[in-house]
């Protein structure tokens, strides 16, 4: 449970929105995530910089919720250290330590949110609060309301759809924790969202419920004005670049859906294979009881098949816990992005409509009235925000999938390596007596 000493926070002070480095800085900008100084309690890792391909095995003794599946968060931290923007990072957030609460009315899980920041927006350098899923849900809704021109990261699904999954099982809770951690880190990473008032309160308030009841939120100018746009305007045509984004998202979501189905099918087949293997191995054991000279070799084969079965079970567990949830997350992400695109369309439509109205008025001085100017402003801001977010999203998506798919390949490699070891180790056993003869 030991972690390194908290990383010294850069003393560069707070940045205003304009001074923040543009999210597109450098083609190799890594997934900028926070929360580095409090490594997950179950991992001791050797930091090896600049080696993107290395998925580190657990260096120390795993405890409680640890599993090789945390390698994805491990790699997150690894990339964090490698990040060239490191000096500008001044906010670190981590989600960990799930705890079950049993009350008269309900039972639920809370997670500990640890925040470390040197930003002026935070009164204290460090915070530790407890939040439950509905708090995260509230935060996301508030962000969508107050920052409608930006892409808000997705939350893991609220309800468990498939099968009878235990909401309080260790695997489910851990999967959810990772997703919630990712959610907060993505917000932390965002130059605009990370400064959001609600986000700040979420991270710091002792009593979040009181704040929720207030109902008053400080909206940014853009947010407020966009909020008032009713859906009455029809867009003639989407500008090419946004149309392209829309098309891309459609196809992307489709392909991810297919990959999700394939992955699920593979897991299903693997589990059925496992069932048969679990019957197969013991038959060799039974046979060995009939034999004298062949007894040891047969028993050896039985044990070997047993080891392969265990390795396979680990593989299917890993894929279920780590691979599938991330895929689903991205499908949700692209869905929410499409709705942001539609909102943008609305803003543009309003502007165009108002502009047209002015043109029809046939005034002598075709000076554009103030409110039309405001509309144009709004539209251009929205477009800029969206474009910037889109590029940032593309970059992160690339990193995330690179990591995800490499992780998948890795798990399969590990599975085969375990099986290889098992089979290689019985060869001497099988050959042994023959030579002695």
């Amino acid at each position: 449970m030991s972690g390194g000493p908290p990383k010294a926070l850069p003393s560069t002070g707070p940045h205003s929105l304009r001074d923040m480095p543009h999210p597109l800085a450098g083609s190799s900008s890594e997934e900028a995530v926070g929360g580095d100084s409090t490594p997950s309690p179950d991992l001791l890792m050797t930091r090896s910089f600049g080696d993107k391909d290395l998925i580190l095995p657990n260096g120390g003794t795993p405890a409680g919720t640890s599993s090789p599946a945390s390698s994805s968060s491990l790699l997150n931290r690894l990339q964090l250290d490698d990040d060239i923007d490191g000096e500008t990072r001044d906010l670190f957030v981590t989600v960990d330590d799930p705890k079950k609460h049993v009350c008269t009315m309900e039972t639920y899980i809370t997670y500990r949110i640890t925040t470390k920041s040197s930003r002026v927006e935070f009164d204290l350098p460090e915070y530790s609060v407890r939040r439950r899923y509905q708090d995260f849900d509230w935060l996301r809704n508030k962000l969508e309301e107050s920052q409608p021109t930006h892409l808000i990261p997705p939350l893991p699904e609220k309800f468990v759809v498939k099968g009878v999954v235990d909401r309080f099982s260790e695997e489910f809770v851990e999967t959810r924790r990772k997703a919630l951690d990712k959610f907060l880190k993505r917000i932390t990473d965002h130059p605009v969202l990370s400064f959001n008032e609600h986000f700040n309160v979420f991270l710091t308030a002792k009593d979040l419920n009181a704040y929720k009841k207030q109902g008053m939120a400080l909206l940014t100018r853009v947010g407020e004005s966009v909020k008032h746009v009713t859906g009455g305007y029809k867009l003639r045509s989407r500008p090419l670049e946004f149309a392209a984004i829309g098309e891309y998202l459609d196809t992307f979501a489709l392909k991810l859906g297919t990959i999700d189905r394939i992955a699920q099918r593979i897991i299903k087949e693997e589990i059925e294979y496992l069932v048969e293997l679990r019957e197969y191995g013991p038959v060799y054991s039974t046979w060995s009881t009939l034999e004298s000279e062949l007894a040891e070799p047969l028993e050896g084969v039985s044990a070997c098949i047993g080891n392969c079965s265990t390795a396979l079970e680990e593989l299917t567990d890993d894929m279920t816990e780590d691979f599938l949830p991330v895929l689903r997350e991205y499908i949700l992400y692209s869905d929410s992005m499409k709705s942001v695109l539609k909102k943008r369309d609305q803003v543009q439509a309003e502007y165009e409509a108002k502009l047209e109205a002015v043109a029809l008025r046939k005034e002598d001085h075709p000076k554009v009235p103030a409110d039309v100017e405001k509309c144009q402003d709004r539209m251009e801001c929205f477009n800029a925000d969206l474009k910037a977010d889109m590029e940032r999203w593309q970059n992160n998506k690339r990193q995330d999938f690179r990591q995800l798919l490499m992780g998948m390949a890795d798990k399969n490699i590990q599975y085969y390596e375990k099986c290889l070891t098992a089979w290689e180790s019985i060869i001497p056993l099988l050959q042994e007596k023959q030579e002695a003869k």
Partner: protein
């Protein structure tokens, strides 16, 4: 027959081809069957080169005739089994059709294996009918039938199916019977589960092939990620198609197990064990018969009637017999007793001989079995090692492609 020994030591036998044929069967109906080409080569001792000496075509039913003949004439030998008549323990990919090329191929190998086993058996290899099987194409059937083995086979079959109780069986045979029953059961179970395992494994590999297509489609809409995805997809296709060869190899292992399954069948209810029981039973009956005759004799001599006999009854009813009659009867009985004792002696001898020979062959068989099965397990492990290495290779390649995304 000595020239046979010498000859058979330096020959190579192979079942090199299989061919579909049509012909008319005994009921003059058209039928399709497969014929197998048996080639015999003798190896020149001087330069080690082999020369084709004989080649002829045989079908499966002729192999069966040969085997039945051997079973009848060598009851103390564990006769090698034939490959299965119909495909059993199949998993979904293989068809259960006897005409399926994969099945025919595996049967060809099985038949070759059978001939090689017979040829390498110290006793069976000397048999003339076997020699003729390899060399005399036409007329072979007639020659076999002339030995009259068919009649013997029938009576043997009848005897084998009869139920009787043996009082003092050789304990070793009882154990052997028990072992072969258990062995049959466990190998059958193993083969059944293995077939299911193969089926599932096939599914796992093939589904991965779908990644190939979807990665390719996805790569079309990506800029930097495209190449990595595309090439990774290719590796997924390679992975998916690799399972065909892997399972092909595994069938060979299954065939080796099957051979011993059939061997186990040859051990117990048929041939060796049963033959021993038959002889033992025969012996016991003869001994019993002798004992009762001796008793009768004694009774007649002493005049006491302890055992029930028809003669005794009639004597009681119709009066005593004359001393001359009694003498005559005693003489007859004494002759029978003598004969009986001779028979018992020779039966005992026969029985002991049989047990000795049979047990020698069983020991030989046991050693062969242990050797063969160990080899089979080793090559099974090697197969799996190769499969794991291929898996590691493919996924490492895919990982590299992903890293370039």
């Amino acid at each position: 027959m000595t020239e046979n020994n010498f000859w058979l030591k330096k020959i190579e036998i192979s079942v090199s081809e299989a061919e579909k044929r049509t012909g008319r069967n005994a009921m003059n109906m058209q039928e399709t069957y497969t014929a197998y080409l048996i080639e015999t080569r003798s190896v020149e001792h001087t330069d080690g080169q082999s020369v084709l000496t004989d080649s002829l075509w045989r079908r499966y039913s002729e192999f069966e005739v040969l085997r039945n003949y051997l079973l009848v004439y060598y009851p103390h030998v564990v006769v090698p089994p034939l490959p299965e008549k119909r495909a059993e323990f199949v998993w979904h990919k293989l068809s259960a059709d006897n005409m399926d090329p994969d099945f025919v191929e595996r049967r060809r190998i099985g038949l070759e294996n059978f001939l090689l086993r017979v040829a390498s058996h110290p006793i069976l290899c000397r048999d003339k009918i076997f020699y003729l099987f390899l060399t005399q194409e036409g007329n072979w059937k007639e020659t076999v039938n002339e030995t009259g083995f068919q009649l013997k086979a029938d009576s043997r079959l009848k005897a084998l199916n009869a139920t009787f109780r043996v009082k003092n069986p050789d304990k070793r045979f009882t154990e052997l019977k028990h072992y072969s029953d258990e062995l049959q059961s466990v190998i059958s179970h193993l083969l059944r589960v293995r077939a299911r395992v193969a089926d599932r494994l096939y599914g796992v590999y093939k589904v991965h092939g779908n990644y190939g297509r979807v990665f390719s489609e996805w790569s079309a809409i990506e800029k930097e990620m495209g190449d990595g995805l595309q090439s990774a997809g290719h590796h997924m296709d390679v992975y998916a198609s690799s399972i065909d060869d892997i399972l092909e190899d595994e069938e060979h292992y299954a065939d080796q197990l099957k051979e011993y399954l059939f061997y186990a069948e040859a051990l117990s209810p048929r041939a060796v064990c049963r033959k021993h029981e038959l002889m033992q039973y025969d012996l016991e009956m003869a001994a019993q018969d002798l004992a009762s005759k001796k008793q009768q004799c004694e009774e007649l001599a002493t005049g006491t009637v302890r055992t029930f006999s028809l003669k005794g009854m009639t004597t009681k009813l119709f009066g005593q017999e004359t001393p001359e009659q009694r003498e005559a009867r005693i003489k007859v009985l004494e002759e029978q007793i003598n004969e009986g004792e001779q028979q018992l002696k020779s039966k005992n001898l026969e029985g002991r001989e049989f047990v000795k020979k049979a047990w020698a062959d069983i020991e030989r068989f046991k050693e062969q079995k242990n050797r063969d099965l160990k080899e089979a397990l080793i090559s099974y492990a090697v197969m799996h090692i190769s499969m794991c290495k291929k898996g590691i290779q493919v996924w490492t390649n895919a990982k590299e492609c992903f890293s370039k995304m």
